[in-house]
Symmetry: D4
Subunit: 221 residues, 8 copies
Amino acid sequence: MDEHGITPDWQRESRIGIGEAVYCAGKNAEQIGRILALAGERQQSLLLTKLDARRFAELDAAAHRRLDFDPLSRTAVLDYGLPTAVPARIGIVCAGTSDMAVAVEAQRSLTFHGVSASVIGDVGVAGLWRLLDRLDEIAAWRVVIVVAGMEGALFSVVAGQVPGLVIAVPTSVGYGVAAGGTTALHSALASCAPGVVVVNIDNGFGAACAALKLLRVFASA
Amino acid sequence: MDEHGITPDWQRESRIGIGEAVYCAGKNAEQIGRILALAGERQQSLLLTKLDARRFAELDAAAHRRLDFDPLSRTAVLDYGLPTAVPARIGIVCAGTSDMAVAVEAQRSLTFHGVSASVIGDVGVAGLWRLLDRLDEIAAWRVVIVVAGMEGALFSVVAGQVPGLVIAVPTSVGYGVAAGGTTALHSALASCAPGVVVVNIDNGFGAACAALKLLRVFASA
Amino acid sequence: MDEHGITPDWQRESRIGIGEAVYCAGKNAEQIGRILALAGERQQSLLLTKLDARRFAELDAAAHRRLDFDPLSRTAVLDYGLPTAVPARIGIVCAGTSDMAVAVEAQRSLTFHGVSASVIGDVGVAGLWRLLDRLDEIAAWRVVIVVAGMEGALFSVVAGQVPGLVIAVPTSVGYGVAAGGTTALHSALASCAPGVVVVNIDNGFGAACAALKLLRVFASA
Amino acid sequence: MDEHGITPDWQRESRIGIGEAVYCAGKNAEQIGRILALAGERQQSLLLTKLDARRFAELDAAAHRRLDFDPLSRTAVLDYGLPTAVPARIGIVCAGTSDMAVAVEAQRSLTFHGVSASVIGDVGVAGLWRLLDRLDEIAAWRVVIVVAGMEGALFSVVAGQVPGLVIAVPTSVGYGVAAGGTTALHSALASCAPGVVVVNIDNGFGAACAALKLLRVFASA
Amino acid sequence: MDEHGITPDWQRESRIGIGEAVYCAGKNAEQIGRILALAGERQQSLLLTKLDARRFAELDAAAHRRLDFDPLSRTAVLDYGLPTAVPARIGIVCAGTSDMAVAVEAQRSLTFHGVSASVIGDVGVAGLWRLLDRLDEIAAWRVVIVVAGMEGALFSVVAGQVPGLVIAVPTSVGYGVAAGGTTALHSALASCAPGVVVVNIDNGFGAACAALKLLRVFASA
Amino acid sequence: MDEHGITPDWQRESRIGIGEAVYCAGKNAEQIGRILALAGERQQSLLLTKLDARRFAELDAAAHRRLDFDPLSRTAVLDYGLPTAVPARIGIVCAGTSDMAVAVEAQRSLTFHGVSASVIGDVGVAGLWRLLDRLDEIAAWRVVIVVAGMEGALFSVVAGQVPGLVIAVPTSVGYGVAAGGTTALHSALASCAPGVVVVNIDNGFGAACAALKLLRVFASA
Amino acid sequence: MDEHGITPDWQRESRIGIGEAVYCAGKNAEQIGRILALAGERQQSLLLTKLDARRFAELDAAAHRRLDFDPLSRTAVLDYGLPTAVPARIGIVCAGTSDMAVAVEAQRSLTFHGVSASVIGDVGVAGLWRLLDRLDEIAAWRVVIVVAGMEGALFSVVAGQVPGLVIAVPTSVGYGVAAGGTTALHSALASCAPGVVVVNIDNGFGAACAALKLLRVFASA
Amino acid sequence: MDEHGITPDWQRESRIGIGEAVYCAGKNAEQIGRILALAGERQQSLLLTKLDARRFAELDAAAHRRLDFDPLSRTAVLDYGLPTAVPARIGIVCAGTSDMAVAVEAQRSLTFHGVSASVIGDVGVAGLWRLLDRLDEIAAWRVVIVVAGMEGALFSVVAGQVPGLVIAVPTSVGYGVAAGGTTALHSALASCAPGVVVVNIDNGFGAACAALKLLRVFASA
């Protein structure tokens, strides 16, 4: 713990294979700045999530210079030497354009850890042919991160068609009963397709972490 | 109002095209018996819904003799001359065997009013081929009553594929977050497929009534 | 899918009779602009929904020039030749002035697809005479889109009086227990009047789509 | 407090005009028996509410002899001299036969305190003519206790038509979204008709108490 | 209905004793202005509720000139000759300073209809002596409007102590589990004190309307 | 872990001052029997909670012989030498007779650990004099366990009047909005009286444990 | 579809690697019997889940003879030649004895598909030493199925300590706010440990399916 | 009550040992200013809570001069002579940097009443070593205020390891299912560790008050 009461878990990567990341919602600019400074002292790369454009603007010039910030996904990367990203038979499927922000959060989280993954967008079930057209590609993946809001029917349809593990990421896209993402979340959890696993609403980062853990533990055969 | 405070709405059929029906949950055997007697005095056919086997058993011998009771759908028919049921390009699609009770409630409600409708069962999206095999048949219907519990993905998939009006009937089939049917209900309401309309959880009767209203008003061109 | 991962479902109209529409909430100006460009390339008319005034203002000049934007209903129309709207015995009933925005969303969605529909406003049940005065007019419609917030008593009263199919559109108008529209939604679903069907809160577009599907499938007798 | 830790509030009547009543749900037969004994020692009449038939059966012979038990409304009266019930321009309106149990709870609570009130049943809004037929009678009452489950549209319709105070008693009658009575409750609270007041779900006793307080304080002009 | 689809219920006062009032949340300035104009044509006084300062500022100069606006209670009065307010043994009790806005909404609604009522503030149960000090005064009222947020314990304590009818107005004051007012609402509905009646969260206007109906119907003995 | 996968935390008492207890809901008779056997082998006294009469009846004769079972509070004690219970300025206040089961669970949990505590029952705020009569006694306690269901107003009233720490135990007593205890729970959490702390619904055992921890850590001055 | 409307998805195993299983809740004995018959015709092994003892007892003698039924986990196996189960570095961790039923459902689902997995029970965080004692063993697994009810703290603690993928199975064990399992579910979804994935409440079968999919797709390198 | 209807409970400290504090959410600047003036007249120190920076800025110059305002914790102190803060074996443990605002609210509330308490930050269970490193320090405290958002696993882990009373303060930190703090709240209430007590979401002040009550009543042995 430094004098501001901040204790990053720098040992996390060696313990569980995922590096410390900084959840920025609920932290003020001063707190985020201090964490960046601690990382800087160690030359430690860092991933920042849920960093909205307004909070990013409040950070100081040094932070702006060092961070690779993406406003759509609200992620930023502090890069002190990151691995080159290579494919790993992991991919992302995204129901609608409104869900793309969360899909990109997952994609950038994977990239940060050395895994490149493509995103197949706009394949919501209202026009099923769009998904069926891409099914062979998706069926080749070992892990399929499916990002969907509204009623989340895509989770079940994909999981019933392909052998890879479906990690469902419900999004807060929608209104009325879908507002906030609970309908998509429950839809994923109650899926009639066996073996769907689920992360929190809008948690593209968490889905990426699960995929990364899998790569690591199955590589260490 | 008779002396027991019961006032059936015998004028309903002439007004809106759907006859009075008796919702039996929350009524005791004496109250149901009295309504049957009132109908008997008028030689009026009646549909009884949500009549469980235990309550049916408590009714008297006269009721048992006159009623055609189906325990699966918890419906009973008091028949003082009903129209012969004929097809009308209306059909019922049912996600799983557990949803069949509600599908049959819809089917029997249609039959009571002179419309025969077939039920296509066990076409949940976990095995999409089962639905795709039947799609041509379903696409010929003007009204498609879709009955599904759990995550209700079937509503969106059907509605995105066929031109008929999809009336979604969410069911209370499921456990955990799906218990009670709220997940399927919200899934139907938040569907990404345009034009899905929804009735209350387990309300096969209501879906049938909507279909019947359509037949009548569109016939009266 | 274009290079931005956008795949409009241009085949939707031929498949289900409703054209692709653009749900604008959750899309940024760049994404909406790109969809407009794709439509422009095909000379394809488009309906945009849930487009608030601030997002509309962020669109570029070309979009402003081509779009017919209505701030009350948050809809915009991209017109590359639309059918003339004609009456079809479909109408809209609206409980209060606060619900008018959603009623107009339904009306403009119908107009876009070639159906003109009048709106009868301010007939909430607190002053029942206002509704009873218009009942003959409403009873002539085949489909009645009823738009109401707060406690949504209007759904049941209309549905019990007229033969047309009532499509209930609950609105988010209200405060306290009515905030967000759940009370009106549940009121519609639990209606004691048989055959009411329901769409998501504030979903005037969805109600219109259901009506349009009906016109098309019953026309194709 | 007696040696069993029971302290009836015998002073309640003089303080607020309503006598102590015994809420029997959650009390075992021994506890109810002890309260009856305490009342017997004082020759104190008592009203028991939410006393189901099974619990009543567990009470001892002395209790069975002294109590006037009504299984429909789950009320019992211990009578050590009650006032003769007289009319007071208070009445009860009840949406459906399934709501009658709660309406009778209100009626018997009034009778216990010396007020006779009639119940008008089966006037749900699905068949509006039934209510309109009785409107003159209802308009003469100073307090109208309206009992309704499902979507509770009756609360708003009555309150918009008559000058008396509407006390809404939502009931737990219904299924799906109406299960448990929350939809009717919220409908009453969000009523577009001004001045509706509401009590807890199934609380016919509470509505009667409110009416009784009004009679007493307005009599003491 | 005028050409803007607005149909005020001018007959309401003669029917139920409460004049038409304008619920301003969800109406834009143009709609409110039109209603004011319709009232002006008839020289009809009007009460406006839930009119926040920003919406008020958007109204035109004529409206600003004619309206008596109170930003705390978000009410405005259009006065074409109102009755002088006189006391009627009705009063308002308010738990904390944060609840005062809703208490004043009730007070101004009463004044508009010719009834003056005093407000006793800051008598929350955390310091019970403050309430006990004022109990004699409150016990003289026939109707006691109790306004409280957070846990709403004040409803039960007052109702257990005084003979007048307690109309509970739960407020949205509070945070955490109390946010939005549901805790206070449920507390009022579940009160262990018999005869408490309840209106919607923050609905000071509704409580006043109920009191006014009582005055009128009990005066017409 | 024994061969049945059961690993009691026998070290708990030395670590935190509270012995291992057995939560019996969700355990079958075989599992409970095995835990009793493990305790018997060590001559270890045990407290069993949430043990309903039916499950107790399923235990074997040896268990019946050794256990002191109380059906009201659903607790049982396996006694291999327990400390004599002595007073410690801790007491229990209980709103109504229906809440007594939970109050006794707290009392027996204290007794098991060597602390005797009296229960003051039936002091709900509907009749405030009952509480005020006992206030001096309660004000002498250092910890006041307050047990209440329904609206839970008692928590705030007691906490505003006495210096001891109020541990609120909301109960599931009530119906309608109070069903299940959430209203009382939220009432306790949102209390306007500062310093109220809360345990789970019906968790008399937990309240006792908190009190016991306090006695121990403050004794070790 | 056979003549009873039943269409098992026999192709599922070849498509996604998990065989058809029968969810028995909501199916009557006749329906389950018919499915067993269909499987028998094909000599197809089947796993039955959520089959409670009462429903099992209603099945016919042939079913009783062929099924290996486990009442604790409510699973049954129809065995027409199953693979020998072998270890695969997958294991199950279980918080308390009450959670064991769900843990065994996961274990038997794995066994059915040829994977043996051990269960480490009773390692809830209230006694952290029990978990820490077993940490080396758990850290060797590639997939860790963690089963916990109540507050579900175990999910985060395990996931923060070991490299394997944690699949959280929240259970319905608990009372008050934990009743039904929602608290444990939300705890898993909101975990501060990165990469936890979650299945529905009590869905041990689903967790096993996810693990099986992983084994299969990562084996097919 | 002064002429603005404000009645501070100046007697609270003598009655329950905690001075009157001012909850500023929902109060406007004028109301807060008036309370400060009343305190100034009595030379009474005051603690203000939930005072956000915008409201603070609206106060007048006199208030700005006298108040010690902390924007992170949204607290301000009006100091007319406060006791020197001394340690009392009470401490605060905080899961993450985002929870620090609430931890500091607790700390400053203690300081105001003469108790100094240190805060141990950033010890969330995702990196358990951080907590274990500080366990000896925490085990020496008599009261441990634990502040955590998201899934709140820290409450159970700490409570299972140390003898002091754990007062859980759930925070609104988190998103998706954790938004608003309900998940952390329920996690605390459902803790498997015995004796955890809980205050409202974000209520650091309330936790401090409970600790202060304990110090006072246990000192008065």
